[in-house]
């Protein structure tokens, strides 16, 4: 391969490569024409943690009661059956790319044949679990809209080099005009438009998280506060009740909180954002690394979060939402969490990246009416919104200030909601929904007539923004 892409190192300026559009250099295949197999070791990696824990349990049991060799045979049979199952599933799984569609066939008894029209792919990820990294393998994930993780395409596992190459190839196919007439007419024009702009652009590094800052920042969020609380509670009870037994009830909680903090640290370690030809590239991870490529025009929302304590340091977090849930290992999808472009950074870094995403992001400039203080005493001073011809922005939040930008062209529906207290005060909230189940920009506690005006005008603004986008795409991940 031309470069060691997923090693966690940001790739410097890329030479203007010509990526082959034709499925070139098929990964090792012994099957009939065009069909490829996954890597033979993939069942091991897919089973991953489960195999590891099973082995650990079995070895533990075997060590504890050494004499009973008969039991060990039974255990080995279990392992052998699991391995055989994995091998068979590898044997019957094959994939190919033809006419802009990725086909994945699997299943021994019940054949399962899936097709993913590449024009509808929202993002392509290369994920490596710790075990996969040891073996030099990687998993390729296609995100499609619809939220249901089971619907996303997943090729687990390929050789890392093959996965990287395939990712580039898929992105070329998904962006390029080669995706053919199967693409839904409405989804394509934007992507096609930007193709000339993308060609020959060198990759530019936009952000890299500071490793020293990340653990401190994570500990300073609410999760960290909870962790502190739990540890303090455990310590106190140990002081008063005395023996170690007093700590025992806290252990599961400590483990849970610790796991959460670790997961966040592991996932966000070394986050690097690079603007490449094929969209924004995001790399992160300590043990399990993820390399994502988000295609231009696929970002549904951008959110800037400034937790209470972070504000004292001038830190913030920048997240984006892409339709289609990101999958974690073992096919659990990452539900509520958005993808952090900046896990923690300064406002300057965030502003730089915001300017990169949206040429001139509007600032939330219109504050809520004063009487909104009665409804929202804590969040009142954050409430504001604004819009321009491409984006709508709304700020809210009680302890953590959250500012959400939504491209008007992505607005799915608009809702006006008024609770009883708000009615008394003559206030109303406007929800601006985008695809997915996680984000909607909320313009909270506006004067109800103003809110009504927003609801009525927003669909027209969105329509105008869509036609504006189709003629002249806005930024949102587009390198310039």
């Amino acid at each position: 391969m031309t470069e060691p892409v997923a090693t966690g190192r940001p790739d410097g300026p890329l030479p203007a490569r010509t990526t082959p559009v034709v499925p070139a250099e098929p990964p090792p295949s012994r099957h009939n024409a065009g069909w490829h197999r996954l890597h033979p070791l993939s069942p091991l990696v897919r089973a991953g943690r489960r195999v590891m824990s099973l082995l650990a349990v079995l070895i533990g049991v075997a060590v504890l009661n050494q004499r009973q060799v008969g039991d060990l045979v039974g255990d080995l049979v279990v392992v052998a059956i699991a391995l055989a199952g994995g091998f068979v599933s590898w044997l019957v799984t094959r994939w190919q790319i033809a006419d802009g569609v990725l086909h994945v066939d699997t299943g021994l008894f019940r054949r399962d044949s899936r097709r993913f029209p590449l024009a509808q792919v929202q993002a392509v990820d290369v994920v490596q679990s710790g075990l996969a990294r040891l073996l030099g393998l990687a998993e390729l994930q296609l995100r499609v809209a619809g939220g249901d993780s089971a619907r996303g395409g997943r090729l687990a596992c390929l050789r890392l080099a093959d996965a990287e190459q395939l990712r580039r190839q898929l992105l070329t196919l998904t962006i390029g005009p080669a995706s053919g007439p199967s693409a839904p007419a409405a989804a394509m024009p934007i992507s096609r438009q930007i193709l000339p702009d993308l060609a020959g652009q060198p990759a530019r590094m936009l952000f890299r998280v500071r490793t020293s800052r990340l653990p401190i920042a994570i500990l300073l969020t609410s999760a960290g506060a909870i962790a502190l609380f739990v540890v303090a509670g455990a310590w106190l009870s140990a002081q008063f009740i005395g023996p170690v037994g007093a700590i025992a009830p806290f252990l599961p909680v400590v483990a849970g909180v610790g796991a959460k903090l670790w997961r966040q640290f592991n996932g966000e370690y070394g986050t690097t954002v690079v603007a490449g030809r094929d969209g924004i590239r995001l790399r992160s991870g300590l043990i399990e690394t993820t390399a994502e490529t988000i295609r231009p025009g696929r970002i549904q929302a951008v959110r800037l979060a400034e937790p209470l304590v972070w504000r004292a340091f001038g830190w913030c977090r920048l997240e984006i939402d892409v339709a289609g849930a990101r999958q974690r290992a073992e096919n659990r999808s990452e539900g509520q969490q958005l993808r952090a472009l900046i896990p923690v950074g300064t406002r300057t870094e965030a502003d730089l990246l915001l300017g990169e995403l949206m040429a001139s992001p509007p600032r939330p400039a219109k504050p809520a009416p004063v009487r909104a203080r009665w409804k929202a005493p804590l969040s009142y001073h954050f409430l504001s919104w604004s819009t321009d011809d491409r984006y709508i922005v709304a700020a809210r939040g009680r302890v953590c200030r959250k500012t959400t930008w939504v491209p008007l062209a992505k607005v799915q529906s608009v809702r006006w909601v008024q609770g009883p207290l708000q009615r008394r005060l003559g206030l109303a909230t406007v929800h601006v929904d985008v695809a997915g189940r996680r984000v909607s920009a909320k313009i909270e506690n506006r004067d109800s007539a103003e809110a009504l005006q927003i609801v009525r005008s927003l669909p027209d603004l969105a329509r105008a923004a869509r036609s504006l986008d189709s003629q002249n795409p806005g930024r949102l991940t587009l390198p310039t």
């Binding site: 992505k410 985008v434 695809a435 997915g436 109800s448």
Partner: protein
């Protein structure tokens, strides 16, 4: 002005600034009957069982419990009646507006081009009254737009019309 939607008819229905008047359509009056039947189906057996159970304590207790449950049912009927009256939908040129709610008022605007699919469902009770519920889905999980208690023929016609409009104006994600 500070109280849009004060009356059940709701000033939301009134003409907005610089905009032709929105013509609100309502679900069938049979929807109220359906809701009443539902309330009665819960209230009457509950009152009878509660009343009989109360007899074990004393006759008076049984009567009090029975009457209280019937009253609760009547209150529920009033609430549901207001809620039914609050439903309304309007087809505009490029989007569908749906309003509902008494305590928490909601108004949803869904551009036709954003509709992913449209459901028409009818439960046994609705079916026996010739009603159906229309539900529109967009790619956003949060946007919820349904219109209950449409006459089956109206629902089918609206579904076809919305589907056609959606197809004509379809926009990608």
């Amino acid at each position: 002005m500070t109280d849009p939607g004060g009356a059940v008819g709701s000033p939301l229905a009134g003409p907005g600034p610089g905009e032709p008047e929105v013509r609100w359509l309502r679900p069938s009056p049979l929807l109220l009957r359906a809701r009443r039947i539902e309330v009665a189906a819960v209230t009457v057996p509950a009152a009878i069982i509660g009343g009989l159970a109360g007899q074990f304590a004393s006759a008076a207790a049984g009567i009090v419990i029975g009457v209280a449950l019937v009253l609760a049912g009547l209150v529920a009927e009033r609430i549901l009646a207001r809620r039914v009256a609050s439903w309304g939908y309007a087809e505009r040129n490029d989007d569908l507006m749906v309003r509902r709610g008494v305590l928490i008022r909601r108004l949803s605007v869904i551009p036709y081009g954003r509709m992913q699919f449209i459901d028409v469902t009818a439960g046994p009770l609705e079916r026996s009254l010739g009603l159906a519920t229309l539900r529109m889905h967009t790619a956003a999980a949060a946007s919820d737009a349904r219109i209950p208690g449409l006459e089956a023929a109206v629902a089918a016609a609206l579904r076809d019309q919305l589907a056609a409009l959606g197809e004509a104006q379809a926009a990608g994600l």
